[in-house]
Symmetry: C2
Subunit: 195 residues, 2 copies
DNA sequence: CATCAACCTGAGGAGTCCTCAGGAAATTCC
DNA sequence: GGAATTTCCTGAGGACTCCTCAGGTTGATG
């Protein structure tokens, strides 16, 4: 039996839910300003809660990151499913890639966590990463079937490219964001001109 | 006057040099196994030296990273200069890019430090990064002049691509190294076929 | 060999991580 | 309404790391 990762759940008791939500809100803010390695004691005090309470709801930092990014990544997966039936598979893929890059770089340190979660089942974010992988792979396959993306590109490679772009964007806190250009150059490398 | 960054120097006294070297050796090993955020107290004890001695020679973590990577990056810069006169500018550029990716991902966390140093003059590694930028830009310019690389690619963008590849390689500690393929895809996006 | 600058040591304050024993509050059940 | 019970909260505290600094030691120099 592989150790199943702990996935945070919104508690049933009213006070528990209140604190859970407050911690999550404080964590999102702290992650965005200080990165994934922000002080959890700060997060707790910012949420008006003792440190033990934070650890009760989120026993590991990874579980807190997972909970803080869950909604955003869920919507990304949903968007992939919506785009899957679109008329132009290449456009769909490109649009989704752009959105993915933004979501992966919500705060400093996130891409790294997601990249590791993709291949590590013992991680809270693994399930979400697997879902994203499926969504991205479907869009990729469709674009390849339409002859608009080189057929030898694998989903793993696609995510390497996405992660690279997201990482570049993550570093952009200090000025220029090279990720749009990065993505455009990458796309030139993997797409096939019409006709 | 902008605060000049501290650059570590090999001491003149024999005992100082001995410790300096021991710390550097221990740091290189620790960085490679535990990343740039390894414990400096461990590094010190591994070098057989008190923590204060480490801080005497390397007052900041960044100065230790700079010293630990100096030789490698210096040789990378030297290689760029040697390649600059080569017969095939595109080959030269590609060879240098491959080498750069390896050097940038010597240990986990290095690319991030270098990426920030590139644009932050208050950083020990800034001078080296600037030298690398010049070397890379020269090779890029030559390849562009030969009509083998898209002329709208800037050095900044080149380094974004290199850094992305290096980051992917850095994550590869846990299995597959996607950086060679990453680089090949990127190259398809930025090169121009002969004739 | 005496002088002095360079160097070394390691205790210690401050921050952070994470746990856990004891207390408080919400929910349930009668 | 009032236990009983389960869930939840608190915050002290041990372990770790960071970095500084006062005091002691040693190598280089003339």
């Amino acid at each position: 039996m592989d150790a199943k990762p702990y996935i945070a759940q919104r508690p049933k008791r009213a006070d528990g839910r209140r604190n859970y939500d407050a911690i999550l809100a404080a964590a999102r803010k702290a992650f965005e300003t200080s990165g994934a390695d922000t002080s959890l004691e700060d997060v707790a005090s910012q949420a008006g809660v003792a440190i033990g309470t934070l650890y009760r709801h989120f026993p590991t930092r990874a579980s807190l990151v997972e909970a803080a990014t869950r909604d955003g990544l869920e919507s990304l997966v949903a968007h992939a499913e919506r785009l899957a039936g679109g008329p132009d598979p290449l456009d769909s893929l490109i649009e989704w890639m752009r959105e993915a890059v933004v979501h992966f770089s919500t705060f400093r340190g996130l891409v790294g966590i997601l990249a590791r979660s993709m291949y590590d089942e013992g991680t809270p974010s693994h399930a979400m990463c697997a879902a994203m992988r499926r969504g991205g792979a479907d869009l990729l396959r469709a674009a390849q079937a339409a002859g608009r993306v080189r057929p030898d590109l694998t989903p793993e490679e696609l995510f390497d490219l996405l992660n690279g772009a997201a990482w570049v964007r993550e570093q952009a806190a200090s000025g220029r964001d090279g990720s749009p250009r990065f993505l455009r150059l990458v796309l030139e490398g993997i797409t096939i001109p019409e006709d």
